[in-house]
Structures are given as C-alpha cells and as structure tokens.
Symmetry: C2
Subunit: 162 residues, 2 copies
C-alpha cells in the first residue's frame, strides 16, 4: 500500500500524461473520501438514536420550522434530495412515531409532515451528541474548517445551490 | 428558500446556543453536499460508458496494476470500501465482460480479478472524458483545488487513511 492512495493516483495521472487533470482528480476523489469518513462518524453517533443522517436532516428541518411542520415538497427542495428519498425518510420517521403525515389544508395533492413530541426529543438528543462528538470536536483546525466551508461554497454556488 | 441553506443552518445553530459546533456542522454538511455535486457530475460522464464511479475505480486500479490483475482483497483495501461493494462492482464489470475472475494461484480461498481488453478500452475512454469534462474542467480556482486537497488530507490522515 502506498502511504497515501490519492497522492499515488495523482502521481499515476501525471505519469500517464494527464497532468492537467491530476489536481482535479485528486480534489474530487478527496471529496468522495472525506464524505465517506464524516458520514461514517455522523451515522455512528446517530445509530443509538435510531435514525440515519437523511432522517436527522428531515427532523432538524421540521425542528427549526415555525410550526414544526412543513410540506413534503418543501423538504425535498430544501434538502436537495430526490422526492423518493424524502418519502423513504418520512416513512421511517413515521414508523418510529417521530413525525406524522397530515393532508395539506389548501392543496389536496400535497402532504404536510409534522414533528411529534418524540421526534423533537430525538432531534434535541441527537444534536447534543453530534455537537459534542462530531461537529464541535477538534477534527481539523478552526481556521481550516472556515477555509473548507468557503472553498466548498464556491463549488455549491457554481452548482446553483444558492 | 434562504440564499444559502448551509449558511442558514449555521445561523440557526448559533441562535440555538450551539455556536461552538456551528462551524463544524457547516463544514460537514458542506462536505456531504459537495460529494453529492461532484458524484452527480462524474456519474453523468460515466453513464454513456455503462459504468458507475465505484466500477470506474475498480477498472482504474486494475489498469494501473503491473499485470492488469489484482486480488479481490487488495481491491477492497485499496479502495477503502466494504467487501460486498467490491463483489457487487466486480459482478457488474464481469457481466459486461470488462473483467474476469480467476482463481488465485497460491491461495484457494482468494480470487484474482483480471482486466480484459474491453475493460482497458472503457477505462481509457472514460478517463479521457472525465479528464476533459470534470477533472480538468475549471470548476474552482487551481490554488483552491490544491488547498482543498490539503485540508481534506488532514481529515483523511486523522481517519488513518495514510
């Protein structure tokens, strides 16, 4: 095994005459691996709470909403995930009695998702653990965390995120 | 919709008294979203070649290996993915006649994966397209690509990647 598989791939890219694309390949491969690392950490903390990161995001969106309820369509747009992913997450949250679906008062084709008291408790307990064990933990230097957010904001802006 | 959903989440984190964890939350959420953006771009380029990114990684590992063949176990370790993911990727590549499995000459419990000529052609054609349309494309400034690789290298080093 080489010391750093991505650095090794970069070296091979240059050696094969693809020097112009080597940095971009290494950056994209790094992003894929970083996501894998942080997702594993987040999922490990969420597991005892009985939820995944996808379900945690739905819970927090409801938690922060004024009436603790939101239309399904809004959840999908805001989380930038496919409608079937939202449906699946809400199905699982509803089965665990953390949220419930209610008909939209003005639009019969639409559905409202409402945070239940148990869901609110899970949202708060999971956030306390995530803040303590992952988000607030010193995994990289504070200045570099800000740096990372800013560089990725450029990728997100270019992708039309905001 | 707020202008930037992650900046909005950061603001809410601070407002709820979780300021110490707000930057870490924004950085991790940014990594998750960045991976989603770049994976979608990579998969769009690979689709006409009939492969996914997971299968592309297996092909390239074989392509770069001296004899164009590697043990299954090595592929899993090097790509840092679960053995079932490697099995699935190799199954699909074998069904497309891009690789073939052969018994390990010295270890009956192990399997060797060999790149076939058609697999080599797909690896080269897919790489040409990825280099041209994604890796070598000016998606963020060159200095920031290097910056991103270095910051993520810290996360990877801390996770024991190298």
């Amino acid at each position: 095994m080489p010391s750093d598989p991505i650095a090794e791939a970069h070296r091979l890219w240059v050696a094969h005459g693809w020097a112009d694309a080597a940095d971009g390949m290494a950056a994209i491969t790094s992003l894929m691996r970083a996501q894998q690392i942080v997702l594993a950490r987040v999922e490990a903390v969420l597991k005892p709470h009985g939820i995944t990161f996808a379900r945690y995001e739905v819970l927090m969106l409801l938690y922060f909403s004024r009436r603790h309820s939101l239309p399904m369509t809004f959840i999908g747009e805001r989380l930038q995930v496919h409608p079937t992913s939202v449906t699946n997450a809400v199905d699982r949250l509803q089965a665990a009695a953390l949220v419930r679906r209610t008909p939209h008062p003005h639009d019969r084709r639409s559905t409202i998702v409402e945070l239940l008291p148990a869901g609110r408790e899970v949202a708060e307990a999971a956030t306390a653990d995530l803040n303590d064990q992952v988000f607030g933990a010193p995994w990289i230097k504070p200045a570099e965390i800000t740096n990372l957010i800013e560089v990725i904001a450029q990728i997100r802006r270019q992708a039309g995120d905001f």
